[in-house]
């Protein structure tokens, strides 16, 4: 939307927007900067902004002392596993709702959404108990299942809105040409649906990566992902700013990068198609 404005106005906009942008981003920037300081410099007064001895030491120490890689691996497995499993279950459901709609499709979609609104704390004990009974407490498979279930409504919804945009005429044409249901899905729909599925995977991976209710309450040492690992720094003995920063930077960096790719899908995925 290019409106004609005077260069002066544009310069003011730019200055203002950059100031606000940097202010909002500052806590993240500060965390990243602190991760390269020594512990002494991290709490120096007045704090040094850029002119300190940059060091990578904290990153090594975090890995060495806490076996950071294990938590990272748990996060990858839990977020990745729950997303893939969710997509596998959601694709057929969303496909059938988008292309073979019935009178009840709308009700089913809304009902699925309503399960997402169930406050987690309301069912905390039942899930906790079931996890103990089924031997799922503090296991990655248990968290994969729970996170898949809490994100399944969003996955179905996102896929549904993407599939809905695929024109029905194409399907009809394929059917006229004698395509079977199977080849219809395989050769006509899949290529058109791939971008939508990819964005769905991306956004849900982010949501699962950052989930911090079930991951905190259903894990101990074994299956704890990065959310729980970082939370362990809240105890007083763990108060080392530079190391906390290094651990935090490593925990958020991959998601920040993925997130920047998914900013457009974020609106669609989190407003359930109500804002376009």
């Amino acid at each position: 939307m290019a409106r004609a404005v005077t260069p002066r106005r544009k310069a003011i906009n730019t200055a203002l927007a950059w100031t606000v942008g940097i202010l909002i981003f500052f806590p993240i920037l500060w965390t990243i900067l602190t991760s390269f300081k020594t512990e002494a410099e991290a709490i120096a007064s007045p704090p040094s902004f850029l002119f300190f001895d940059w060091t990578l030491e904290n990153y090594g120490v975090v890995q060495e002392r806490s076996n950071y890689m294990r938590f990272l691996w748990n996060s990858v497995i839990i977020a990745g596993g729950s997303t893939l499993l969710g997509v596998l279950i959601a694709v057929p459901a969303a496909w059938s709702m988008a292309f073979v709609p019935s009178k009840r499709t709308k009700d089913i979609l809304l009902w699925m959404l309503s399960t997402k609104m169930l406050p987690a704390v309301g069912v905390l004990y039942p899930i906790y108990l079931l996890f103990i009974r089924l031997g799922l407490l503090d296991t990655r498979i248990g968290l994969v299942i729970v996170l898949m279930l809490i994100n399944l409504p969003i996955i179905v919804w996102m896929l549904y809105t993407y599939f809905k945009e695929i024109p029905g005429e194409i399907l009809e044409a394929a059917r006229m040409d004698g395509a079977s249901l199977r080849s219809e899905i395989l050769y006509v729909l899949t290529p058109m649906a791939v971008p939508g599925i990819a964005s769905t995977i991306l956004l849900n991976f982010i949501l699962a990566w950052n989930e911090a209710f079930w991951t905190l309450n259903l894990t101990a040492a074994g299956a704890a992902p990065l959310t729980a690992f970082i939370a362990s720094y809240s105890s007083p003995e763990g108060l080392f700013y530079a190391k906390l920063s290094a651990a935090s930077t490593m925990a958020i960096a991959p998601i920040l990068i993925l997130g920047w790719f998914s900013q457009k899908q974020l609106v669609r995925g989190l407003t359930f198609g109500a804002v376009k």
């Binding site: 950059w18 606000v20 007045p46 704390v121 720094y233 109500a274």
Partner: protein, 288 residues
Amino acid sequence: MATQHSRSAARLMMAPAVILLLGWMLVPLVMTLWFSFRRYLPLRGGDQGFVWFENYARFVTSSSFWPSVLTTLTIVGGVLVITVALGVLLSMLLDQPMWGQGVVRILVIAPFFVMPTVSALVWKNMFMDPVNGLFAHLWRAFGADPIVWLSDLPTFSIILIVSWQWLPFATLILLTAIQSLDSEQLEAAEMDGAPPLKRFWFIILPHLSRAITIVILIQTIFLLSIFAEIFVTTGGAFGTRTLTYLIYQRVLESQNVGLGSAGGVYAIILANIVALFLMRIVGKNLDS
């Protein structure tokens, strides 16, 4: 156009998702309801039979109930006011022509992707710490006494942290909505001599009203159940115990499952009231 054959195939394809979600919803819900009617203390005597509505009555008459409701409302309300007000301003700013718009957008959206435990810890230690936090340095630089944020202004501190996390979401959605505004309408108003404030009040704000409603509803659902931000910062101390946190403490910390489950039922009812409004809007959108 759908044949009988494709109908039943469709039903079969939907089945796994529907059955899983049905189980996910019903099994824990029925269990929570069941526990809420019983006196159940896993570590002190176990399940001691039905007490019916005693837990429900005890939950609302306990001295921590109303403070927790007040805290919940303060946090949800505070975050909503801050994120919506700043979100409207910010989205209007980001919609203006400027250099490096893409980069600014990325900077503004970034906090949304930071995991809750990280943002809570970073704010708690590196900004709000009364000795080494950046705010303390700033206060001292101006000759003021540093604020002990998390014990002097605990609720406000949590509102600040959560607002920082959710401002990007509000901004992004409002920006999407603002970009769909017909710019000719604004230009016509400008040519007719409508001052900026009037253009904002009579054209931009009405256009945004739907998006604002959606932001409020969705954020309310998520904000009602914030957990990690409190867990890591105050652990529910200093009057920051929300309804969610109170239930969590009843169930897992003091292991009073009956009482906690009754609280859980209240939380479910509360969330459903909000959800009802949201669903109505989303449902309308499905029809069009």
